[in-house]
Each structure stands twice: as structure tokens, then as C-alpha cells.
Amino acid sequence: MPTMNMLQAINNALDIAMAEDEKVLCFGEDVGGFGGVFRATSHLQEKYGRARCFNTPLVEQGIIGFANGLAAQGSVPVAEIQFADYIFPAFDQIVNETAKFRYRSGDLFNVGGLTIRAPYGGGISGGHYHSQSPEAYFAHTPGLKVVVPRNPYEAKGLLLAAIRDPDPVLFFEPKRLYRAATGEVPEEDYQLPIGEAEVTKEGTDVTLVGWGAQMEVIERAVELAEKEGISCEVIDLRSILPWDEDSVAESVLKTGRLVVTHEAPRTGGFAGEIAAAIQDRCFLYLESPIMRVTGLDTPFPLTLEKEYLPDHLKIFEAIRESVNY
């Protein structure tokens, strides 16, 4: 099996999807000849022509409006937003249009073919506007699916699933891992399920839940914890809308403890939803409060980014606190 980094895995998934179905189109700012500022769409224009892979003018609301129309027509657009921080001009098209298209028309029309890709997250000295994790904004929006892969293998399988999913999918890519994460990725076509969490490690004392780049951070924290004899169960949510409440509940019923982590600010972040749902489902089994390890309630900083981020040490401390409660 070849080794790929996450960008290669994403590029490979797009290549497979475009080769298989001529209705699949890739576009966005700098996506065409140049292949995207991160090069996720490299060579696609060469291979599939300018009509199917192209630059758009610099206007996110237009990109998604255009993509909504294309999807309604029956095409399968994969629109790139250059950074998740710049998805907000398209917020209306996503939240009021994409999300409600099928429902409002009684399924006369739908934009299920749409996939929106956007690099998200911190750890790259990007400051406020190249570091945000906006997934919670979209997770509060029925009609959308929100997927976040944690490594190259997951990225390829989930992206192919997203493109073929009958519903519109927001696909947030942890850009910190674009080149940093490498791993074996099958050359062939495969899909991973959207809406199903994966237990990446079994354990008995405490459950850790995260998604995307945060999974790697959890792993480091778990190493520290296991050294102290704490047995950790780790769950990658993979998609936060819909999210796999059953898998998390099942794990917490076993461990009695839960730590959830994300980079986004705490207040209104998706860890809140998880905590609220799980305290309800597992009330009598909880041995300590559900802990959240998150970014601070501030815009994303720069010089003090390291201090801001929910790193492995903070997660480790939360595990300890949870277990020693």
C-alpha cells in the first residue's frame, strides 16, 4: 500500500471521484491551474479539463451559491473554501439555502450532491484568520452533514463518502496535518461511513472524544495517562453532524467518565452538545463531571498560540481530574 500525506490522499480521492463520474466538478479560489494554495486539487485541471476544475472569482458567497445551483441541477460540485475562516461570507448560502433545500421543497429539489471542502484549525502560526475551527456553527444547522478526518486514510475514505453522500457535506480538513500526517492509503476506491464514530483505542477508566487534528493530541495525552495506569478509551467522532451518540454513550456507560476536546472556543462549542447529551443518557453511570478541554473564549491568538491550544498536557490533566474526582 502506498504511503500518502493527507493532501495526497485528498487529491487522490478527488481524482477517483472525477474519473468515475463526469458530473463531479472541483472549483474555488486558485483551485484550477495552480491546484489550490495547498495543492489539494493539483493536476485535476490537466486531467479533466477547465470545464470541470477551475478557478472562481474571489467571492465565497458566490462559490457556494453557484455550487448550490449546480447541485440542484444534478451535478456533483466539490467546492473549496480556501480557509475555513473565510467560509462566513457563504454562511447564508450554506445555512439558509444548502441546509434547507430539500426540506423546503418537499424533496422536489435538493443539493445532496454538494461537498464543501475547507482547511481548518490551528497550530500553524496563523492567528485569528487562518486557524479557526468553525464546525460548531454548522453542527447547529439541521440538513447539513459535517465531517472531519483525522489522518490520510480517513480523509480519502470519508471524502469519497462525502462526495457520494445524498446529502450536502461540509468537509473540514485539519490543515496542520496536510503534510505532517502520513500513512498507508489504499490506491483503490473505498468509503468510510458518515455518522459512525470509531473507537480507536479501547479502555476502561475514561472515555476521550474528539475529531480531526485533535485525535493526535488525544493520543499523546493518553500515552501520559496510561503511563500512570489510567486505561483510556478513545473515540474519533469522524462526523459531528450527525454524531454517533450511541457509540459515545456505550463507552461512557462502561467507563463512567468522559473528556471531550476541540480547538474552538469553549462556549457554544460542540463539546457542550456532547456533554449535554451524554449526561442525559448516562446520568446514573457518571462518576465525575464530563470535562471539556477546549480553546479559550477568545479569538484565536498568535504569539501565545501554544498557551491557547488544548494540548496533550491539558487533556492529560483533565483525564487525571476526571479519574481523581
Binding site: 466538478l25 470545464a51 470541470r52 477551475f54 472562481t56 472569482p57 467571492v59 458567497q61 458566490g62 457556494i64 451559491g65 453557484f66 455550487a67 448550490n68 445551483g69 449546480l70 447541485a71 440542484a72 441541477q73 444534478g74 451535478s75 460540485p77 461570507p89 447564508d92 448560502q93 439558509n96 439555502e97 434547507k100 430539500r102 426540506y103 423546503r104 421543497s105 418537499g106 424533496d107 422536489l108 429539489f109 435538493n110 445532496g112 439541521p142 440538513g143 452533514k145 445524498p166 446529502d167 455518522g195 450527525p242 451518540e245 450511541d246
Partner: protein, 405 residues
């Protein structure tokens, strides 16, 4: 870089160097202007158009009355703009996609949406294609290529660009027309849509109904320019301004626009100068922001009257036909309304279907909990209670409340 010539004088252009004329064919008396040419339009097609205009007017009058009687929660009229909407629609292929704002029911009437279909949407009953989820007037029809209306303004404009791009790739020779008001044209989505259409050479017709108002805001507070048409220069887009109350001008201009769009894959902007004769909607009272005198002046420019006179002149219509048509339409409206009012609401399950292609387990769970709750308090939710068990409620009309939303 630009290829324009150099100048050595620091002269500013003031923004109105170039004025865009208004294309007009038919005078209010129903005669062709001197030098004007009528489009090719045979008797049958002319009668189909005229019929649609009258049917739209009758529907609007009756339904606004029904709203005033409290039978309907909300309504919006096309009144005064029938020539713009129906003239443009008639110039298209019936399989071209229409993406409307909300005041374009005339297009649906022209394409054959039945009064029953209108009523089911207006009353949000179990036969409404939209399953009673949107406010009245949010029609849609897949078979008539009419995209379901969405209230947020201007969002449909870039969607039309995308839809038409898909049509171009599909190669079927279809195009998309998108209707919007001069108010909606102030949204950022307008700019995005026109620019992208010009860059990507998309077969889309941007049809602006400049009816002078966006709710209470007169167009003079909407833009400083002479209408919306001059914006085409900024995108290098073909443009024409037409008298929107002149059915022949609108028809002819749209025919030509369609040709440019479909044969050359070039977008076109049409600005139709018209007037919203009625209130913005049933929630609005225009007397707070415009004069009767202004309204009266425009009532004299009624587009239906103008076409009627022309039809008379052609010998294609007469008073008797008019009377018979009006009467039968009125009757049909009342009958279909009564039928629609009586139909039960959509089933309770429709609360959670179509959010996704398949109902998610979480939504199923929420629905189950809701059903359990309603079973506990059936009288508090008469609509929901009747459709708890879809199999049982069929034909059981007695329990329905007055049927409005």
C-alpha cells in the same frame, strides 16, 4: 492589463456618460410605436399568454380577498407585473429553468400549474408539494422546471448561474432565467452571480423586475444610478432595458436574450421597468409611503389592458370571451380554494422527513418522543394528533381546523 487608450488629462467620468434606452413596442393604446416591429407571435401563443395574465390577475385578486377574510395567513400579488413575468416566460423553452423571487406566479400559470396546485401550497395541506413547510406563495414544480421559492432575497441569483453552468455542461441547449427585484439586486449575491456568469460564460438570463419599490424603500434610496441596467458594463455583459408593461417588448427582448445565452453561452441582463400596483404583501399598507396619485398614474399603464387592446386590434379576442374567461376563472378559484381548505394537513412524520435523504436515528427518536407527547395531549395538537397514525386519518376531514396556516 486593460487595452484602453491613454489620456493625459485627469478627467473623471461622472457615471452617466452612457444612458441606456428603454425598448418599447406597444403603446398603451395597444398600437405599435412607429418604427417598432412586433415579435413573431401567433394567435395561439398570444392567447396562451393573455390567458395566463388574466388567470394570474384573478388568482391574485381572489386570494388577497381570501387573506383579508382570514382564510389565508399571507399572500403576495404579481399585479402590474404580469407582462414582465409572463412575457419573459413565454419567450423561453418550457423546459428552461425558472428561478423566481416570489412575485412570479404568472410564470407558473403560463406553464400550466393548476389552481389546485396553487391552492394546495397556499393552504399547506397534505397535497402541497412542499408538504406545508413554507409560507403561502412559496411554490415549486419540478415538472414545470420552476425552482421552489426561498424567502432569503437574491440567494437564487448565483444559484441560477450555477444551474445554468450545469445546463451548459449537459449540452441539452437549455438555459436558466432568474427573476429578482431591484431591491434584491443590492445584495452581495447579485454581484457574485453576474460576475461569475460573465467569467464562466454561462447561459443565464438575469431578469430584474424594477418595480420602483422594495417594500417601502423607493428605488431612489436603493441606488443612485439610473436603474440596474448600467451595472452590466461592469461585467461586460449584454444588457437591454425594456418597458416591463409592454408584453411585446418583453417577449421579443427575452427571445433574443435566450438566443444570446444559449447560442453563445453569454449571460444577459434584462431590466424591466414596471410598477408594483398592489401592496408589497398582505402584511403591507403602501399608503404609508407612496401616493394614490402615483399609483393611479401607473394603473393607467396596466399591462393587461395594453395587451387586451392589442389583441382586440388583431381580432384575437373580444368582450364575450373576456367575460366568460373571467367568470370561469373566478369560479375555479373558489372551488379549488374550498377543496384545498378541506384537505388535511401533511402527516406528522413530514416534520422530520427531507431534512436528510433518510431520516436519521436522532430525528426518528425526536419524532417518536413527539408522538408520545401528542398521544398524551391529543386535544392540544389537533393537527398533529390526526396524523399520528397516517393510515387512520385518510378521509377523516371533520377534525381539521379551518385549514389556514
Amino acid at each position: 492589463m486593460t487595452t484602453t487608450r491613454d489620456t493625459h488629462a485627469p478627467d473623471f467620468l461622472a457615471g452617466d456618460e452612457f444612458s441606456i434606452p428603454t425598448y418599447r413596442v406597444l403603446s398603451q393604446e395597444g398600437r405599435l410605436f412607429e418604427g417598432a416591429e412586433a415579435p413573431e407571435l401567433d394567435r395561439d401563443q398570444a392567447r396562451r399568454i393573455y390567458h395566463a395574465m388574466i388567470a394570474t390577475r384573478v388568482l391574485d385578486e381572489r386570494m388577497m380577498a381570501a387573506q383579508r377574510q382570514g382564510r389565508l395567513s399571507f399572500y403576495m400579488q404579481c399585479t402590474g407585473e404580469e407582462a414582465s413575468v409572463i412575457g419573459a416566460t413565454a419567450a423561453l423553452d418550457d423546459a428552461d429553468m425558472i428561478m423566481a423571487q416570489y412575485r412570479e406566479q404568472g410564470a407558473l400559470v403560463y406553464r400550466g400549474f393548476s389552481f389546485d396546485e396553487f391552492m394546495n401550497q397556499l393552504f399547506g395541506n397534505e397535497l402541497d408539494y412542499g408538504k406545508g413547510r413554507q409560507m403561502p406563495i412559496h411554490y415549486g414544480s419540478r415538472k414545470l422546471h420552476y425552482m421552489t421559492i426561498s424567502s432569503p432575497l437574491a440567494t437564487q441569483i448565483p444559484q441560477a448561474t450555477g444551474y445554468a453552468y450545469g445546463q451548459k455542461l449537459a449540452g441539452g441547449g437549455q438555459c436558466t432565467i432568474v427573476f429578482f427585484g431591484e431591491g434584491a439586486a443590492s445584495e452581495g449575491d447579485f454581484h457574485a452571480a453576474l460576475n461569475m456568469a460573465a467569467v464562466h460564460e454561462v447561459p443565464v438570463i438575469f431578469f430584474c423586475r424594477n418595480n420602483g419599490y422594495a417594500i417601502s424603500t423607493p428605488s431612489i434610496e436603493q441606488f443612485a444610478a439610473d436603474g440596474v441596467a448600467p451595472r452590466a458594463f461592469g461585467y461586460r455583459m449584454h444588457v437591454i432595458r425594456v418597458d416591463g408593461n409592454d408584453i411585446l417588448a418583453v417577449y421579443r427582448a427575452t427571445q433574443e436574450a435566450r438566443r444570446i445565452a444559449v447560442e453563445h453561452n453569454k449571460p444577459v441582463l434584462i431590466e424591466a421597468m414596471t410598477y408594483r400596483l398592489a401592496a408589497h404583501s398582505s402584511s403591507d399598507d403602501p399608503s404609508g409611503y407612496r401616493s394614490r396619485k402615483e399609483e393611479e398614474a401607473w394603473r393607467e399603464k396596466d399591462p393587461i389592458l395594453r395587451m387586451r387592446r392589442w389583441m382586440d386590434g388583431q381580432g384575437w379576442w373580444d368582450d364575450e370571451e373576456e367575460k366568460a374567461l373571467q367568470e370561469s376563472l373566478r369560479r375555479e378559484v373558489l372551488e379549488t380554494m374550498k377543496r384545498a381548505e378541506k384537505r388535511p394537513p401533511p402527516p406528522l412524520d413530514s416534520l422530520v422527513t427531507d431534512v436528510y435523504a433518510d431520516v436519521t436515528p436522532a430525528l426518528q427518536h425526536q419524532l417518536d418522543a413527539l408522538k408520545a407527547h401528542i398521544r398524551r395531549y391529543p386535544d392540544a395538537y389537533p393537527r398533529g394528533a390526526r396524523s399520528l397514525d397516517p393510515g387512520l386519518s385518510q378521509g377523516d376531514d371533520a377534525a381539521s381546523d379551518k385549514g389556514g396556516a
